[in-house]
Symmetry: C2
Subunit: 471 residues, 2 copies
């Protein structure tokens, strides 16, 4: 089987063929940096990170561009509220997104362009749309005439005549109420850049057409983003780019939302869903496992409890790898040849991660059975297979440990707490209660709290932050 991907523009799962053999250019709509990221934002980051990793696993050299929209109404509003320039807000939140991507194990993009850094490219594109007669300036704004592009609506499957007209302040300046703004004329007190049509600022859609073209060329392989971007954002990108003769993206991938109690997770929800908060309560690798556990096109309900429940599934995988390493007395290298063919088949089937994870669990069961009957060779081969498959999902535990000292130290603390508890138990058994109490006090002084659970003792640091199984 070869890779197939669901293409929103055809509403079918299509065989994937890259424009250039062995290379993939991929553009993903990243953050509009109005605030720090919540779980919904990071789902998109993880989903496309897995797509990218699978393409790499299939031998493609992937150029992955993910933009930062660093100016829009809400950023300006928030900056005004804080009485700081817009770029103070944008930079702070760009960093918060970077940290969230990092903590969830997403590989950094090949390039991460900012909208405001590409004004000349946008002006050039708008000029060409003017020359083609599909762009027009009115009252300082620059609009796209949707009637001038016959295919407008094809991505989202709508007809222009069926579309509701935007009832906004811009409406009076437009030729047709459905036309969209590529450029917004300067308002008093707002930042602006000069253009042939007067000063103003980017109107969102134009930046992605301009930046995708600049970094990936006029035709590239994959364009991704959240499902809520299909209309109008991606529809508008297509209109802009096609009207200057660009073929633009060959495949359109969209990830579904994260919901809480059935509602789309939106920026108006509280801080408790901020990634920075959630990862204080659940292990980041388990959060990634949870996000990977749903197909990227399925809605995903989020709660701490659901992540924790799913995390037990991940701990079964980790537990197998730990036991296997003990039995074999060694770690495991990642070798693509060790992946189970069913895993590859699942991933080739539109990145079917739930199916791929089911394959991993099947191999874990075989491995556990092999350990139980003392079949070291089979245990080793299954462990190597599991590690190779986890690697593709960005879930190889040893990467997370190697990547940051925190992860490696966490493993050391696990083992050390186990030593201490074992010594405490031994002291109790020899009725040396003074030693037993001293060990308990020393753990407490070290800021380590022990909680007895049905799965055995679990430790945590007594302030906020990291916790882990002792096992």
């Amino acid at each position: 089987m070869v890779l197939h991907l669901h293409d929103t523009s055809t509403r079918t799962v299509r065989e994937f063929a890259s424009i250039e053999p062995g290379r993939v250019g991929m553009y993903v709509c990243g953050a509009t940096v109005q605030g720090p990221p919540h779980v919904g934002h990071i789902r998109s980051g993880v989903a496309f990170d897995i797509v990218r990793r699978w393409l790499a696993a299939r031998g493609y050299d992937v150029t992955y561009v993910r933009n930062v929209t660093d100016i829009d109404d809400k950023i300006l509003h928030n900056a005004g509220h804080e009485d700081v320039p817009y770029w103070v807000v944008a930079m702070r939140n760009e960093r918060a997104f970077t940290e969230a991507y990092d903590v969830l194990g997403c590989l950094p993009p090949t390039y991460e362009p900012r909208a405001t850094g590409h004004i000349p490219e946008m002006v050039d594109l708008m000029q060409r749309l003017m020359d083609e007669g599909v762009g027009y300036a009115a009252n300082g704004d620059v609009y796209f005439d949707v009637r001038a592009y016959a295919d407008y609506g094809s991505l989202s499957g709508q007809k222009v005549d069926d579309m509701l007209a935007a009832d906004d302040a811009e409406a009076r300046s437009k030729r047709d109420p459905r036309d969209f703004a590529m450029w917004k004329g300067a308002k008093e007190g707002e930042p602006s850049w000069e253009t042939p049509w007067g000063p103003g600022r980017p109107g969102w859609h134009i930046e992605c057409s301009a930046m995708a073209r600049k970094y990936l060329g006029s035709t590239f392989d994959i364009h991704g983003g959240g499902l809520d971007l299909v209309f109008p954002h991606h529809e508008n990108e297509i209109a802009q780019s096609r009207c200057v003769g660009d073929d633009f993206a060959n495949y359109w991938l969209h990830n579904a939302w994260v919901t809480t109690a059935g509602e789309k997770m939106s920026k108006s929800l509280g801080n408790s869903l901020l990634v920075s908060e959630v990862v204080q309560r659940v292990r980041p690798i388990e959060l990634r496992y949870y996000l990977a556990g749903a197909h990227y096109r399925s809605m995903l309900e989020f709660s701490d409890a659901m992540v924790t429940d799913a995390g037990q599934g991940f701990q079964r995988i980790e537990g197998f790898l730990t036991r296997a390493a003990e039995v074999i007395g060694d770690g495991f290298d990642v070798d693509a040849d060790n992946r189970h063919p069913d895993f590859d088949e699942a991933m080739d089937d539109d990145i079917n991660t739930p199916q791929a994870i089911a394959v991993i669990h099947g191999v874990v069961r075989e491995g556990n059975a092999a350990i139980a009957r003392g079949d070291t060779e089979t245990a080793r081969s299954r462990a190597q297979s599991v590690v190779a498959m986890l690697d593709v999902l960005g879930l190889n535990p040893s990467d997370w440990r190697r990547g940051d000292a925190g992860g490696r130290l966490e493993g050391a603390v696990d083992a050390l707490v186990a030593v201490a508890l074992e010594q405490r138990q031994a002291a109790r058994e020899r009725k040396d209660f003074a030693s037993a109490d001293a060990i308990r006090d020393q753990l407490k002084a070290a800021g380590i709290e022990i909680e007895d659970t049905t799965d055995g003792p679990r430790w945590s640091l007594s302030d906020d932050g990291g916790s882990s199984d002792v096992g």
Copy 2:
């Protein structure tokens, strides 16, 4: 005393007065992202981070802008060598710099603009210099006519007539061989942007004039950078900005170099001086302490051994805080009122960090004496003073622990290893050699190696990475 800073432009230590009461605008020349950062680069980051923190401690609201030069000859050369676009190289190294700043405890800048994101601002500035008659286009390049600016050379204390002419390929196009390029005409196969004088790319100096103006205004408080930037880079910035009527920076601060065996640390030195490598061998907080231990205008010789030696001084401070916390049974809040007046005086004296650190050690000695004689109140007050002073230098250990789980876990491992070793010793003493050996084996299995040193046992993780005193 009020803050005094050494101003390169007057070669004197001047009283600092901000343009706007309570606010400081500060522009620092950041990385030209040709490769990952070495210790020399990060010294500048740490030095200006301390300046910034001291300004904040003195009550200023600091806007700190540090640029990223993301295009230059070397970046293009390196990209060509790898057969990738320049922005692939620039992005990768920008991230490496960000990681290095973070790991050394530098606060993120308020904004971090990229040169290539500011073409319109540079074109606008060059146009104005053309209009003033000090800029001219020749052969696709745009030059600055240094004879047209009477004060050229004043920052670096040179007269134009004494300057050696650059003997370069551009020389034939220039009116005077000392003129410098603001813009470089496009060469075959190189990235370029359109301008009224033809396509090309930024010529370094112009970007800082344009970006400082954009983010901090035509007059701002402080401009910083490495001593090697005084001439020609900062001289050229001044010439460009003053010739369009900008007052530009009021104070010019320059940090001296890091040397190894007396040589300026340059990019041609090996990987062993990369920050990412050094922090595998020495504790990052001790590296920062070492860098802070020299005055920013003094050359600083670097070797792992010198950092490790200096680190023992930092461990004395940490040791006092640990003992004080044990005696008092509590941690310490940061309160500026608790700083020793001599510390403030040292910092006000052109950020005299070696003197400031000497004051900290004096207070540590008083605190240790207080603990020795059981004077808990004095111990508490000295500990609070030490924490408040460390905070200003970005060396408050609890920040480093709070900031990343790694730091907090490291403390937990310290304590746990101590528990394990104590239990091993107790087992030996009761001649339970089986238990003693088991503990040793368990530590080894946990990847923890124990080394007996004259200061007691020291643990390290058995792969590369973190090590620490057992404490």
